[in-house]
């Protein structure tokens, strides 16, 4: 048969996402976006130019072979498409949903220069979700007799565990919580990343023979030396950077003022939205104000809507253009009714007669010269103070290194308490590797996952001497 040259469908609009109506979805925890159908995926795959020099790949932190998997979609070779992605990205269902594609693959895609880029993220998640349908059977090398301990079951720990298990290592993941997934479970809400997906990934690892030890706080229950005595040959630290930062303004400890970590953990991990069936309570604000401009702030604001808030305001020091959140999240939040209050900073929280927060005093800001991050620095405007009412306030202004890192192993830290590593993830301790947020500071799922994969390769090389 003569080979038919592929002709992209030039000029076709980007296949729209299948999203639930904003007014309905903003009242419960159902997934916001139900994902592409096969027909959607094929239509979208037909837009790809199959570039000789694919810019999209340059934008992907782990170098997924994007045009190659898109080609397999066109051929309706779903299993082939999935395995092409999985060669570089172990968690396509997750990354397809949470990666900041607009700064990565889609941000670089040539089609984006004039119109809309190929919806690479949508294609990726759709393939990831097809894992059960195409029945992937990951191959494991025979057991090599070496034991590796991993601390933390977030994306970085999961990725490292998966890679090593496939290479025949005996892997145990120690997790402080009673369940796995790290931020994927306790941070990112159900409506954006269904917990069933995270669970499936963990079960997949269990099938590969990975052991999970929950309720195990490294640094308190055991330390690195004890693990080595127990016969582990290497340790990968992927404890994240979960420690919340505070605004340090007056009234921040009033009841009703949450840090986003607590608000989201109560909701996602402890299922406070099902109180009193679940025992963990959460305050249902009518008038909620969230501080921050990242994904965490968006998740908190949208969670507040789903807990029944009448008005949710997101207050940010800079403007929407500088917000670090994924564009899709900002778009969804606004669509659902979150109001954005740009250029203001909280001065203090004031209590009402019941002792709970009732008012926030804010100050207007203006943008000055760019700071170290390249974003324009917000400067307070004198005399611009104003107050708004609120019965729940949530701060989402970033996190710091997890303090247990230094208790679990003798490794060098930098001045922010993050672990120092080389490009392979090696720490100052020859038997200890580290990666993910505890090395980079709060970053992204894909980078955490990539670090886990890199460390796994380095651990393998070191132990097996290959």
């Amino acid at each position: 048969m003569p080979e038919v040259k592929y002709r992209p469908n030039i000029g076709a609009p980007r296949t729209p996402a299948n999203e639930e109506p904003a007014e309905e979805r903003a009242r419960d925890f159902r997934p916001v976006d139900t994902g592409y159908t096969k027909a959607d995926a094929i239509a979208e795959a037909n837009r790809c130019l199959d570039c000789k020099k694919p810019l999209c790949m340059e934008g992907c932190p782990v170098g997924v072979h994007i045009p190659q998997f898109i080609e397999k979609i066109r051929e309706e070779d779903w299993a082939g498409a999935l395995s092409t992605i999985k060669a570089d990205n172990l968690l396509p269902s997750v990354c397809g949903r949470v990666c900041p594609q607009e700064n990565q693959c889609e941000g670089k895609c040539i089609l984006g220069k004039k119109g809309d880029p190929v919806a690479i993220g949508q294609l990726e998640r759709m393939l990831g979700d097809m894992a059960d349908e195409v029945g992937e059977a990951p191959e494991c090398k025979p057991a090599n007799g070496h034991k590796v301990a991993i601390v933390g079951s977030g994306p970085s720990g999961i990725a490292c565990a998966g890679e090593l298990a496939r290479e025949g290592f005996d892997v145990t993941v120690f997790e402080a919580f009673f369940t796995g997934g790290g931020v994927l479970t306790y941070g990112i809400p159900e409506f954006r990343l269904p917990k069933a997906i995270v669970k499936r990934e963990i079960e997949g690892l269990e099938q590969l023979g990975v052991h999970f030890e929950y309720n195990s706080v490294a640094g308190r229950l055991f330390d690195a030396e004890e693990l080595f005595e127990e016969g582990f040959d290497a340790l990968y630290l992927a404890v994240g950077a979960g420690l919340p930062r505070f605004l340090h303004v007056k009234g921040e400890n009033l009841p009703g003022v949450y840090c986003a970590n607590e608000y989201l953990t109560r909701t996602n991990l402890m299922k406070a939205y099902e109180f009193p069936v679940y025992d963990t309570p959460i305050r249902h604000g009518k008038n909620v104000v969230v501080f921050g401009g990242g994904n965490v702030a968006m998740d908190a604001a949208r969670t507040a809507l789903r807990l029944g808030a009448e008005k949710v305001t997101l207050a940010y020091r800079r403007t929407e253009a500088e917000m670090p959140a994924r564009r899709a999240e900002i778009h969804h939040a606004k669509e659902e009714g979150v109001e954005i209050l740009e250029l203001c900073n909280p001065l203090r929280f004031l209590p009402g007669p019941d002792g709970f927060v009732s008012t926030i005093e804010l100050q207007r800001m203006e943008l000055g010269e760019p700071d170290a991050s390249g974003r324009r620095r917000p400067i307070p405007v004198e005399g611009s103070e104003f107050a708004i009412p609120c019965d729940v306030a949530i701060t989402a202004i970033g996190t710091r290194a997890n303090p247990f890192a230094k208790l679990c192993a003798d490794v060098e830290l930098n001045r922010w308490g993050l672990i120092e590593t080389d490009e392979e993830g090696r720490t100052s301790n020859p038997k200890v590797w580290a990666g993910g947020d505890i090395v980079t500071g709060a970053a992204t799922v894909i980078l955490a996952m990539g670090a886990g994969k890199t460390a796994a390769a380095s651990i393998k090389k070191t132990i097996l001497g290959e």
Partner: protein, 278 residues
Amino acid sequence: MYKILKKTQFSENVFEFRVHAPRMAKKAHAGQFLMVRINETGERVPFTFANWNPEEGWIEFIFMVIGKTTECLSKLEEGDEIQDITGPLGKPTEIEGDSVAVIGGGVGLAIAYPVARMLCEQGKKVYVIMGARTKDLLILFEQFAALPLEELFVTTDDGSMGEKGVVTLPLARLCETDSIDSAFAVGPVPMMKFSARTCREHKIPIVASLNPIMVDGTGMCGCCRVEVGGETMFACVDGPDFNADLVDWDDLAHRQASYRAEEAVSKKQYEEDCACQK
């Protein structure tokens, strides 16, 4: 799953569980705590280690029934399992001085007891001051009385047992007579606050074990934050023990009351569910 090896009832609403947890038994120290989640729908709640045995692989904690979770726990029997227990968490208690006053009130007595026992074992002179509103709320009296204490004081607000009044009365006497080098307090906020004030007047250092509401217990959520010396500290990792002289007590009291309404709903619902099952 963590199996209950032994259940002891000290009084109508105070129980002790011995639970199989070999790794934890090797690492527990006095003053540290664990977090329990009874079942899938349970809340995570902290309890202090009361005892542990690394050879036999168990840990013990004492709890007083006050709300839904503790009520539910009290219904479990030997052989039953608790879904999740995480620990040890927090820093161990360290108290300076050879002669120490241990002050406890309410549920805090369950926390004060292992600390008093540890101090006795360290060969210190230990004075215990137990406080309660009324006799029926005074828990673990016999257990304290069995320790080799210098002296045991009891105060009740209504005078139904011991001295009528509050814990600061015997505490002030101990300070005035130069009997103590330091103090340790755990219990309701007013009790700790006024103990701290009494000690400050006599320049006696005092440590308080704070009990804010907790969620993760590992420094991740910030729920347990307390103001100590003008700094935000996390009771679950920086504490639970702090220099009582520096604690912002009103802040702690407000935060502890964050979920009073929900706690009542939870308890009522539970009692109705229990009534249905009968």
